[in-house]
């Protein structure tokens, strides 16, 4: 089963997000991550959902989403060239001995330290899901206290090839 990144434009109205989420739960579709925010148009919100499923299931998901009256556009970015980012905040246990090593790791991943205390530091990282996963793996041995991830946001690339 392949992971699909589905970008949805939906009327920015009362209950609209609920319709989308409700559709996934009512029909037993899987949600790996979901992120929501306004789009370039105030009256429209962009919802990015990462879902796992066979091609048949993904096809149904897209058709069912399209059927929602409030949904104005649905794109499965998976087969397109697209940019994706996820933001994560990671609070890691840190002391005098480990702090500098943690800062090095943070630098390698081009992330930022946004909070520091005698017993912990909090790192803000953005990147692809794989990058975030790799970073979490590197930090794990130090003792991760808390993680907050936004879920994937994505947009289609304008030009073919990587920019």
């Amino acid at each position: 089963m392949k992971k699909h990144t589905i970008s949805i434009l939906v009327e920015n109205k009362f209950g609209a997000l609920n319709r989308i989420v409700g559709l996934f739960s009512a029909r037993g579709y899987n949600i790996d991550s979901i992120s929501v925010g306004t789009s370039e148009d105030d009256s429209v919100a962009r919802v990015t959902i990462v879902s796992k499923g066979d091609d048949d299931v993904i096809e149904q998901i897209i058709k069912q989403l399209n059927k929602l009256i409030d949904v104005t556009k649905v794109v499965d970015l998976t087969y397109d060239n697209f940019v994706e980012r996820e933001l994560v905040l990671i609070k890691v246990a840190a002391n005098r001995n480990s702090r500098s090593e943690l800062m090095q790791i943070s630098e390698i991943f081009r992330s930022k330290i946004i909070d520091i205390s005698p017993r912990s530091i909090t790192i803000e990282a953005t990147g692809s899901e794989q990058k975030v996963d790799a970073m979490i793996k590197m930090l794990d041995p130090f003792g991760i206290k808390e993680i907050a991830r936004t879920g994937r946001v994505a947009l289609k690339r304008e030009f073919e090839g990587t920019v």
Binding site: N18, R19, G22, L23, K63, N66, K67, L68, I69
Partner: protein, 592 residues
């Protein structure tokens, strides 16, 4: 409260009124603009203002049902019989939640209805106020769309949008929730001529490239089957379907919802396909080389095991709902569009096919495996349905409940016209038949309306007798009374070693007395020879509803039958002997 009095006297007058009106008045005026004839409803605290605005209204007839579920089924019956939008008005909280079954039923069977629910005032929403229920949240997954009107200025637009959404594309129910304070506040009335919805563009015409691909497959076929569903009726495409079938010389298998789309007495009709469909329609679908699905959705009650469904055919699927395509069964050529529009473009392009051998084969099957039952002194439900068919010349509007009564009606009433077969197909709602028949009777005045019931289902909405009597509806309410919840009993018989768990209806009321207590007429018959005279007597009564209690043979099973998720190879035909029945049971045990 109301300030202007006679704002609703003239139809269509001055729709751009600058006078401010209350939400309630706007509501009434909007419905007049939508040409609503009947509204089925039940008042209550949250809609008392709306009912006040309706007090002097003469354009729309409000039918006071005796339960909100009855109101929704009546609206469904009206919509299915006429093709117009059915309208319901109920209060908040319990009024709204009582509509849920009907709304879900309309969603499953693509019935265009708009249900207006009262709601507590906006400042109370979310406070667990008296008679508050989050009906928008509750009905989100069982409506085509729903609206909460938060501002009286949005009301007219919302009503227009609700009717538009309910009646276009694949039809379905729309719920409009109207808070009490919104309906009391004022705005100028401005009814839009049309609404534009960014995310809603039903596609009607069908892609010409796809149509051409379909034509190629059809023209190469020697053993075609038209597998038609309720979509043909929804798009008023019976004539187009008839033309296609006749041009191709292709046999027609109908789903439960599709019955009536093609005349059931025509030689090309194979009757119904599916679990309790005819032996030959199921076998023909199994063995055809080209399956043309028209407004049908490959429901599990038709396909059985989808992997084994019609294994050797190339499949074409015409449906207005893209999500219905390849949902259960992969098809070769999908055509998204309105059935009527697509058939109008497809039929001229196909060639008459040489189906002589194929039709002969089907005739042979029809002779070998006809629908049958054993008649005797005790009344058989099948016989009752056959006689109703004969006495009404196939011209009645028939509503059915759910279970054996529904299956036997589908088998033995040969529906000749569309919008004649009104049944709860998708949701399978007991208590549907009778209120739906009421709604149908309001919409259709020139044909008799029969409501077919079991003795279980009729008791689920029997209170509507009061509504039917009040409105002098000449309904014929047939009860096939076997003292059992027959279909469940049949399954317990076939699959659960005859352990009849809680399916006996021991204390049925005296239905004749019950009918009379409500002010209707009642008849009872318990011998086969009494069936026709009783029906004839009942059909003479035309000023009130009549209940006809047929005491049928207690234990009879519906055959043919394909056990759940089974295949055509497992069809159990009507057993010719006790021995054969025992064999069938052993066989079905094995399938289970």
């Amino acid at each position: 409260m109301r300030t202007t009095v006679n704002i609703i006297t003239k139809h269509g007058d001055n729709i751009m009124s600058t006078n401010e009106m209350t939400g309630s008045e706007i509501f009434v005026k909007s419905l007049i603009e939508e040409n609503v004839e009947y509204m089925f409803g039940y008042p209550g605290g949250a809609v008392i203002g709306v009912y006040d605005a309706m007090h002097d209204m003469s354009h729309i007839k409000h039918i006071l049902t005796r339960h909100e579920q009855g109101a929704v089924h009546a609206a469904e019956g009206y919509a299915k019989a006429t093709g117009k939008v059915g309208v319901v008005l109920v209060t908040s909280g319990p009024g709204a939640t009582n509509t849920v079954t009907g709304v879900a039923d309309a969603y499953m069977d693509s019935v265009p209805i708009v249900v207006f629910t009262g709601q507590v005032s906006t400042h109370l929403i979310g406070n667990d106020a008296f008679q508050e229920a989050d009906i928008i949240g509750i009905t989100r997954s069982i409506t085509k769309h729903n609206f909460l009107v938060k501002d009286v200025k949005q009301l007219a637009w919302t009503i227009k949008a609700a009717f538009h959404i309910a009646s276009t594309g694949r039809p379905g129910p729309v719920v409009v929730d109207m808070p009490k304070d919104v309906m009391a506040s004022k705005a100028p009335f401005l009814y839009p001529k049309e609404v534009k919805l960014r995310g809603y563009h039903p596609f009607y015409f069908g892609h010409m490239g796809q149509i051409n691909k379909a034509v190629e497959i059809i023209n190469a076929s020697r053993k075609p089957v038209l597998y038609v569903g309720g979509g043909v009726i929804n798009s008023n495409a019976s004539t187009e379907l008839f033309n296609l079938a006749k041009k191709l010389n292709a046999p027609v298998a109908m789903t439960l919802m599709g019955l009536g789309a093609y005349p059931g007495d025509d030689k090309l009709s194979m009757g119904r396909v599916g679990v309790h469909g005819t032996w030959y329609s199921n076998v023909a679908v199994d063995q055809c080389d080209c399956l043309i699905a028209i407004g049908s959705r490959f429901d599990d009650r038709v396909t059985g095991n989808p992997a084994m469904f019609s294994p050797n055919s190339r499949k074409i699927h015409i449906d207005i709902d893209p999500s219905a395509i390849s949902k259960n069964v992969k098809v070769d050529v999908p055509i998204v569009g309105d059935v009527r529009h697509v058939l109008e473009r497809l039929t001229p392009l196909v060639n008459p096919l040489n189906t002589k051998e194929w039709l002969e084969q089907i005739e042979e099957w029809k002779a070998e495996h006809p629908l049958r039952y054993e008649n005797g002194n005790e009344i058989r439900a099948q016989y009752v349905i056959e006689k109703i068919y004969e006495l009404t010349n196939g011209n009645a509007v028939i509503t059915t409940d759910v279970g054996q009564n529904q299956m036997w009606t589908a088998q033995f009433y040969k529906f000749l016209n569309p919008r004649s077969n009104i049944t709860s197909g998708g949701l399978g709602t007991m208590g549907f038949s009778f209120p739906a028949a009421m709604g149908a009777a309001f919409g259709v005045k020139d044909r008799p309306v029969f409501s077919i019931n079991g003795d279980g289902g009729i008791q689920m909405n029997i209170q509507e007798m009061a509504t039917a009597v009040s409105n002098k509806l000449p309904l014929k309410i047939v009860i096939l009374n076997n003292g059992y919840l027959g279909m469940v009993r049949q399954w317990q018989d076939l699959f659960y070693k005859k352990r009849y768990s809680h399916v006996t209806l021991g204390n049925n009321p005296d239905f004749v007395k019950l009918a009379e207590a409500f002010g209707g007429a009642g008849f009872v018959a318990d011998k086969t020879e009494e069936v026709v005279p009783t029906l004839e007597e009942a059909m003479k009564i035309n000023d009130r509803p009549v209940i006809i209690d047929f005491r049928t043979i207690k234990e009879d099973n519906v055959f043919p039958m394909i056990p759940s998720a089974g295949t055509v190879a497992q069809i159990i035909d009507y057993p010719k002997s006790v021995k054969e029945l025992e064999m069938a049971k052993t066989q079905s045990e094995a399938v289970k």
